[in-house]
Symmetry: C2
Amino acid sequence: MTNINDIARLAGVSVSTVSRVLNNYKYVAKNKRESVLKVIEEMNYTPNKHAIDLIRGETRTIGVILPYNNNPSFDQLLNGILAKALENDFLITVLPSKYSSEKEMEYLEKLKSKLFDGIIITSRANDWETIIPYSDYGSIVSCEYTEHTEIGCSYIDRYSSFLDAFQLLKNKGHQAAAFTTARLESNSTKQMLDAYHEIFGAVPPGYHISNCQCLEDGYEAAQQFLQLPERPTAIYANGDEVAGGMYLYAKSLQMTIPADLAIIGQENQPVGIGLGLTTVDHQLMKVGEQACSLVIQKSREKVKIPYRLVERASV
Amino acid sequence: MTNINDIARLAGVSVSTVSRVLNNYKYVAKNKRESVLKVIEEMNYTPNKHAIDLIRGETRTIGVILPYNNNPSFDQLLNGILAKALENDFLITVLPSKYSSEKEMEYLEKLKSKLFDGIIITSRANDWETIIPYSDYGSIVSCEYTEHTEIGCSYIDRYSSFLDAFQLLKNKGHQAAAFTTARLESNSTKQMLDAYHEIFGAVPPGYHISNCQCLEDGYEAAQQFLQLPERPTAIYANGDEVAGGMYLYAKSLQMTIPADLAIIGQENQPVGIGLGLTTVDHQLMKVGEQACSLVIQKSREKVKIPYRLVERASV
DNA sequence: CCTTGACTTGAAATGCATTTCATAAATTAG
DNA sequence: CTAATTTATGAAATGCATTTCAAGTCAAGG
């Protein structure tokens, strides 16, 4: 492989001059610049990125830890991140964790080893106490709120959004609502439960099903909800795909939406648009964009992204 | 920042010995190994990845060029790639191209600059002639078939799959079918048209709508198809989300599926499963896995991934 | 007692580009 | 016509870990 020394030798200049040409510094004599460029062209030379990164101590690459990548919510986040990264000429490396704390640590170690300039944590398996020391080695931005000042946040006030959604259902006359969540241990689930208590009080037995991710999960959840002795009149689904599954099951029973059953979804996804579902749009794409911006700016700000209640015909 | 020299000095050994400890070579005296590890621990030292990559000339990172990342098909590909990469301890950097040939070249230049060990091209904007020279700098694997021996391929015989799908429709008594495609210039569209001609002959006016990607596009396409004077009795949708949109539109007209209208989708996606759509499953996840394997093995094989016709109730 | 092989270790070369420092020539300002 | 800039260039230091080479110790085998 030809390197900068070869180019310098062949062009009859020093490596410094070649480097200057490479980096478009002024103060290189026109004829020298040209002969260097000519040799570069002839030798088909491209500088080695590792040598550059090594000396500059910067990579313009951001690692994105995300538990699942086949999940519409994380896809939206990733989308926003990619868009902003592209705009700023940063590269994104996807770091699938499956909520394994070991994997997560492995990725944080890579930040320490300088592979990334920063890391975005879309969802985490480890305690903040474990993660924080790594903020010495690059900016760490979370898509979930935390008070720790070492961590930048691009987050949603999920609690309020859940309050709003439940209030909407209550206003429409529902005394309770069934609901689904993803991971039982997640922060989001905790906020959901808090909001539920705030608006409706105790959760009736069978009204909460967790581990829902996709349309099929929603279909099954609806099946279970509608078999309960105290049939719910409204359901909050943690995602429009899940909501879509519920919709389809209800339709299969000839039920009318929202007269027989109100359904409210989340994230304003294609299926929801197609089926005309009312939805809580957390604007995850914007969350992703903001998270990426924070990493790029090495900022530790806490930025709250507004959510929107999109009212359509299912409530 | 503390480096390997500091560790060596503090542990009273040479850098070679530290390196040996770092890389778990045997033939390091037990007491020296221990004292090196102790110093590493104390100094909170992590080797610089760029220095390692520079000298090893390897990164265990693969770049994945994909035009859009918010597209279910590319998501499935990426999914397979990520799964296989994780398994083999490789990292994936996502390279969004939006079909810009400049961007694509930029990414190929990064391969040349040693940032990646290889690149997977899920879909491309440039000619093979432009791309091929870069195969000198790392393995390039395509998710589309090409005869060029420099390029590994993990591909689907789309032509045959389209033939099968159209034949299925014909067997059910349809004399023609409307269909949607994504990009008009794509290889896939070309194969689609060829297969159509083979089975049904000329495409009736208005029977082909391109630039369909999502559920809404399908909804609108169905609207257009069903307004035609010669109403199609069957539709092939280039994706289950698109098919889902068509299904919903047809249902909104109180049509019965498949009696009034047969719909066949593609990629076996959640919506399709939920709606019970017959679909051509190109097994894109497997395509992605195989593509990743080929890059890892630096293989230039051409591997055809079998597709499956999943018959459900919409045809 | 000598040879052979296993074990240990460090010096130095290697991979590659950037940047600082020093120096020199050519301009411009006063 | 000096003094001060601006322009131009190269040597050498820097960033950091791996690997080869050479050489040495020690124990086992003959």
